[in-house]
């Protein structure tokens, strides 16, 4: 365990700074700026109309930020964890070191996840602040913080899932897009227990815990079923995160990668 932790730590350290220099980081930053821009427009226009209704604020936060931008940013960043080493053909150097292969996935995922989560939570904070200021009604106490934690959890879980996809599939971006828009987007919004198979369901359960009035505003739009207990929702999300990383690490350790010369 010491070996895996040490190697993961070294790779995290080395690749953390490298993450900022990638084209993917730039794309992620542009994506994260989109909801901020939209919230900015609402903040300028809404006061002219006497303030924005809370449904609008929730919809921008939920449908645009959490359901679209968070998975997309996580996909751009998470799918690169392994795929980049394969595409650049540098994986050979790491594979021929006396370290558990899983450390490559863990270390590189952490190096990608940390700046990505800072970016997403920062963007979410700006969105919430801009929209709250423009809203007719104030958000309940503590809800702002829960919104940020929702983004944090969503970003972490999605990036872990997409990092695993990078180890499991040849084209993780395509698989990730399919997962985000077909599986999560479709299944997560269909009425019925199928929603429980999506990450979105647990994020929504955590976000809306105890907020019966607001939950109605959001749930009516998405045919939601009874949400899970918030503590159980967080546990489930953490379990998915750990499971995805474990599955990715297992596959990555067993799989061989044939690199071109």
């Amino acid at each position: 365990m010491n070996g895996i932790a040490r190697a993961s730590g070294i790779l995290f350290q080395v690749h953390l700074l490298r993450t900022f220099r990638t084209r993917r980081a730039l794309i992620a930053a542009l994506l994260a700026a989109m909801p901020v821009g939209l919230a900015g427009v609402v903040a300028v226009v809404a006061p002219l109309e006497g303030g924005a209704p809370r449904e609008l604020l929730l919809s921008i936060f939920w449908f645009f930020l959490v359901q679209t931008i968070v998975p997309l940013v996580a996909l751009v960043m998470g799918s690169a964890v392994i795929a980049e080493e394969i595409e650049d053909r540098t994986i050979t150097y790491l594979f021929t070191r006396p370290i558990p292969r899983a450390a490559v996935l863990f270390g590189r995922w952490a190096a990608v996840a940390l700046p990505m989560l800072v970016l997403l939570v920062g963007a979410a904070d700006l969105v919430v602040r801009l929209l709250s200021g423009a809203g007719k009604e104030a958000l309940p106490e503590g809800f702002h913080g829960r919104m940020l934690v929702t983004v944090l959890l969503g970003g972490a879980v999605y990036s872990a899932v997409f990092a695993a996809a990078g180890a499991l599939f040849k084209r993780p971006i395509l698989v990730g897009l399919g997962y985000t828009f077909v599986f999560e987007g479709f299944l997560g919004n269909l009425p019925g227990a199928n929603q429980k198979a999506t990450i979105l369901f647990y994020l929504r359960s955590y976000l809306m815990a105890g907020e019966h009035d607001m939950a109605g505003e959001l749930q009516e739009a998405i045919f939601a079923i009874t949400p899970a207990d918030p503590a159980a929702a967080v546990r489930t999300l953490l379990l998915v995160l750990a499971g995805a990383l474990a599955l990715g690490a297992w596959r990555f350790s067993k799989r061989e990668y044939v690199l071109s010369a």
């Binding site: 080395v14 220099r21 594979f95 370290i99 292969r101 061989e256 010369a261």
Partner: protein, 310 residues
Amino acid sequence: MTAVLSCEELGRYYGQVVGLNELTTELGGGVIGLVGPNGAGKSTLLRLIAGEIRPSRGSLRVLGEEPFGNRDLYRRLGFCPQQDALYDDMTGFDIVRMLLRLAGYSTADARARAERSLERLSMTERMHDRVRTYSKGMRQRVRIAQAIAHDPEFLVLDEPMTGLDPLGRREVLELLRELGRAGTHVLFSSHILYEVEHLTAEIVLLHRGRLLAKGALPEVRALLSKHPRRVELTARRARELARVLIGCDEVVSVRVEPGEGAEQRLSVETKAVGPFFARLTAIAAAEPFGLGAMRSADASLEAVFDYLIA
């Protein structure tokens, strides 16, 4: 003494393509050149040794251990891959230091070793520059530096001279010779025999994924020059030519086959292709047998042969 490498019926296939086929051999150690034309299976064998890929069949042991994912082995093995791939946004020094830290060295030890290995490759002045600013030769030097930095017992290099200028080639050859003298087992691939000869007389010759010959270079040359090879000719007076050829010392057998029009085909097996062609020229000059096309039926083997004899 344990063989540094032993394999039995080792095969590696990429779908329908054969990378390596039924390779059974044992290498005792020292400095060994892995030679053969492009597509011979050299890189496949070296990738198998480095544990980058798994055998499709057969067994492979490197320093007595199976290589794929074997962490204990990687402490004793240094590998320089053929692909020109490095972390371009990092410096050569940072790459070597990172890989040393992953090999278990402390920060201070990793720094000292990285500096030393890059210095051995004459990279001291440029080691703190980003790799993207390096020439091809410098990139190759960094790849070699990371392979030797942890003083491996067995050093495996895939085309280590690629991209190097003549001076660089000489330096690397000298470095490998030095490592060999110090007791490191070195296995390196090259398709330039001249370089191999300057470093070692021990070679393993691969051709089309198979082991063609192994041993001291002069012996391999002698062995190959005795290898009977087939030459195909066309001639109008084929039967008469066959009668003359069969009396030649260097001809093993002659077969006459139907050809097109007035010409017939002759399939000649010879044990010495050079003298045979010289003899054939003399025969054709002395008497017109209506000699037409002439080609070696073992064209690719001939390429290997010529390559070794050159």
